[in-house]
């Protein structure tokens, strides 16, 4: 036992040296990309590319070493489970930056990540205005309306076998058709400003919410229902203490699906006509002007908005459905 731990310590120290070499390799590649003038792969030929491959290999090795610590329970495992994916993303960005700068890829085709970052920071006021128009107005209003309507509809539908028989096939039908296509019609009805986008979002988010909430409300454990019955629970109590908590994982599932759908709906609806602000408008006009770094900056904004709302929902879900096996069990 003692010997074994000494062994692992020895091999660990050997690995630590190798890992430092890997880190150095990656940093060297990074500084090479950042300091050299663009087009260095074309000037110096292929041997610099070899260096990029080496750095990629090094980051792969680093990730592999770090994943061996992930399965533990201690603080290192927690850090590693965060570091490994970030390392992967960093490696991908490094390759992107190197290729774009090294081969001097035209801006129209693909801007470098650093260029996108610069465009993002320089155009923050414009991007913020777009964010307000698209996200804070159309998405949030449409999302709240669509989700609450779906939730209320599910309450009504769950009471009646007849409505369930009729609405469930309709819901399944709606999930297999491209609802985004309704966007031009909504723009025609509700005008160019944000209400038409909110309307698209309402329609897109309604059915996933309805179907999921319905499944959740129906998933009540018969034993629990019997228990509530022996307690002589009133209808409201039955709903609040039994039905709703059991439906929560399903509801959060729908909320998470809908958070992405809502953003997609709002942006696509803006392709069909908007006032001169909004993320969809920005993308379609800047593509027309070949301002690709601005387009990518808008996408970065949309990505940030999308993943942040998803992350926020996941966090709230963790707090509310803490009892659910998928959260309690860790993995």
């Amino acid at each position: 036992m003692n010997q074994a731990s000494v062994m692992t310590n020895n091999s660990l120290s050997k690995h630590v040296l190798k890992m430092w070499v890997a880190v150095l390799l990656i940093l060297a590649q990074f500084s090479l990309v950042m300091t050299n003038p663009v087009g260095f792969y074309q000037e110096h030929g292929g041997w610099l590319l070899l260096f990029l491959l080496l750095a990629l290999f090094a980051s792969g090795y680093l990730m592999q070493m770090l994943t061996t610590y992930i399965d533990g329970q201690d603080a290192i495992a927690k850090i590693c489970s965060f570091v490994v994916p970030s390392l992967f993303a960093a490696a991908m960005l490094l390759v992107w930056e190197s290729i774009v700068k090294g081969f001097d890829v035209p801006l129209v085709l693909l801007p470098a990540p650093s260029g996108i970052g610069v465009a993002f920071i320089n155009n923050l006021p414009t991007l913020w205005a777009d964010f307000q128009q698209t996200y804070l107005k159309s998405v949030v209003v449409g999302y709240v309306l669509g989700c609450s309507l779906g939730f209320i509809a599910a309450q009504c539908v769950v009471q009646s076998r007849f409505l369930q028989n009729g609405l469930l096939p309709l819901g399944n039908f709606m999930s297999s058709i491209p609802i985004v296509g309704i966007a031009p019609v909504m723009v025609m009805w509700f005008g160019f400003d944000w209400p038409s986008k909110a309307a698209v979002v309402v329609i897109m988010t309604f059915f996933p919410m309805l179907i999921n909430t319905l499944a959740g409300l129906k998933s009540v454990d018969p034993l629990h229902a019997d228990l509530m019955h022996t307690y002589a629970a009133k209808k409201g109590q039955f709903f609040l203490k039994n039905q709703l908590p059991q439906a929560m994982p399903f509801i959060f599932n729908a909320l998470k699906i809908n958070s992405t759908l809502a953003l997609i709906g709002a942006i696509v609806a803006e392709f069909f006509g908007t006032p001169i602000v909004g993320m969809g408008f920005r993308i379609s006009t800047e593509v027309g002007r070949m301002n690709m770094d601005m387009v990518w900056a808008t996408i970065l904004m949309a990505a940030l908005a999308g993943s942040m709302s998803y992350g926020l929902l996941a966090l709230v879900e963790k707090k509310i459905t803490f009892w659910h096996p998928s959260i309690r069990g860790g993995r």
């Binding site: 792969g60 990730m63 592999q64 994943t67 992930i70 590693c80 489970s81 490994v84 994916p85 390392l87 992967f88 993303a89 035209p106 129209v108 085709l109 693909l110 076998r161 007849f162 409505l163 369930q164 028989n165 009729g166 609405l167 096939p169 309709l170 039908f173 999930s175 297999s176 058709i177 491209p178 985004v180 296509g181 031009p184 019609v185 723009v187 025609m188 009805w189 958070s259 992405t260 953003l263 997609i264 942006i267 696509v268 392709f271 069909f272 006509g273 969809g280 993308i283 379609s284 593509v287 690709m292 387009v295 990518w296 808008t298 996408i299 949309a302 990505a303 999308g306 993943s307 709302s309």
Partner: protein, 293 residues
């Protein structure tokens, strides 16, 4: 007898369709009628309600076309025009269908490949899985115009850029479903294979692949619907090259509401058909294994 009829699923579905149609006609009457009254009053022509009711369902560019107008347009553009003509809806449907199917196929292969990698390699799981999930929180359809323009700049136009977007949308459900499915093998079975000293490849082909099939088909149904949405949205910025998406866009530019709605109905039919085909394949494959769908 009455009670039993109410419990039949098909009766409920028929009632629902009937209700949708009734609401549709009433809404059309209100929307179109109001517009009609406005134009008539602007022209200072006398009108009566009975006149409006008969006229409201026959306007050329109504705010809300009624089902029989859409059906007539569908019949005209599907059966009365040649398939090769640009006025034929089938011509546009086939363009969309091509990129959907290509993107779907690519996406399924990519999704399965990633899932196999994730299941067999812990490093890949730790580094890739968070990004696979994060990639779906990004409203990727927003990238559609860029991909189309960028690939157009290097002379890649037509089918490929659109199907790349379909591919991106469809790979995710497949990856998630397959990771779950490949791990869903019966514990006893995998232990048995372990006692046989089976290699990873043997475990994959003799056990995991079969355990994953039900999950795969559930994902395929989501993936093909997503691929269709991707193809249609990708056609929005490409302009006049054809496809259901460009029909939607040109319809909205010229206020041709009947054209928009017929393209919408066509895409709904196409979506249903594709999902139904996957379901058919699912029941065929799973029935051979004695599983019920």
């Amino acid at each position: 007898m009455h009670k039993r009829l109410m419990d039949k699923p098909w009766f409920a579905v028929i009632c629902m369709i009937g209700a949708v149609l009734v609401v549709w006609y009433i809404a059309a009457l209100l929307l179109n009628g109001n517009q009609l009254i406005n134009t008539l009053e602007r022209k200072k022509v006398a009108w009566s309600y009975s006149h409006i009711v008969t006229e409201a369902y026959g306007i050329k560019r109504p705010p809300l076309p009624v089902p029989h107008q859409i059906a007539a347009e569908l019949y005209k553009t599907v059966f009365d025009t040649k398939v090769t003509s640009k006025r034929s809806l089938l011509y546009h449907t086939q363009i969309t269908l091509n990129s959907t199917l290509l993107g779907f196929t690519l996406g399924v292969f990519l999704g399965i490949l990633i899932a196999v990698g994730i299941v067999h390699n812990r490093t890949l799981e730790a580094s890739l899985m968070p990004w696979v999930i994060a990639s779906q929180t990004i409203p990727i359809l927003a990238i559609a115009p860029i991909i189309v323009v960028v690939l157009g700049a290097i002379n890649l136009t037509g089918l490929v850029p659109k199907s790349l977007i379909s591919m991106y949308l469809s790979f995710f459900p497949v990856t998630i479903g397959m990771v779950k499915g490949l791990r869903a093998a019966d514990k006893l079975h995998s232990e048995l294979l372990m006692t046989y000293n089976a290699s990873a490849r043997q475990v994959f082909w003799k056990l995991r692949w079969f355990a994953a099939q039900p999950y795969l088909f559930a994902s395929l149904k989501i993936a093909i619907a997503a691929a269709l949405v991707g193809a249609i949205v990708a056609e929005l910025p490409t302009g006049a090259q054809g496809g259901l998406g460009s029909r939607l866009l040109s319809g909205s530019y010229y206020g041709q509401t009947v054209q928009i709605w017929s393209a919408l109905v066509m895409s709904a039919l196409l979506g249903c058909l594709l999902v139904w085909l996957v379901t058919l394949m699912e029941s065929w494959v799973l029935k051979r294994r004695g599983l019920t769908v």
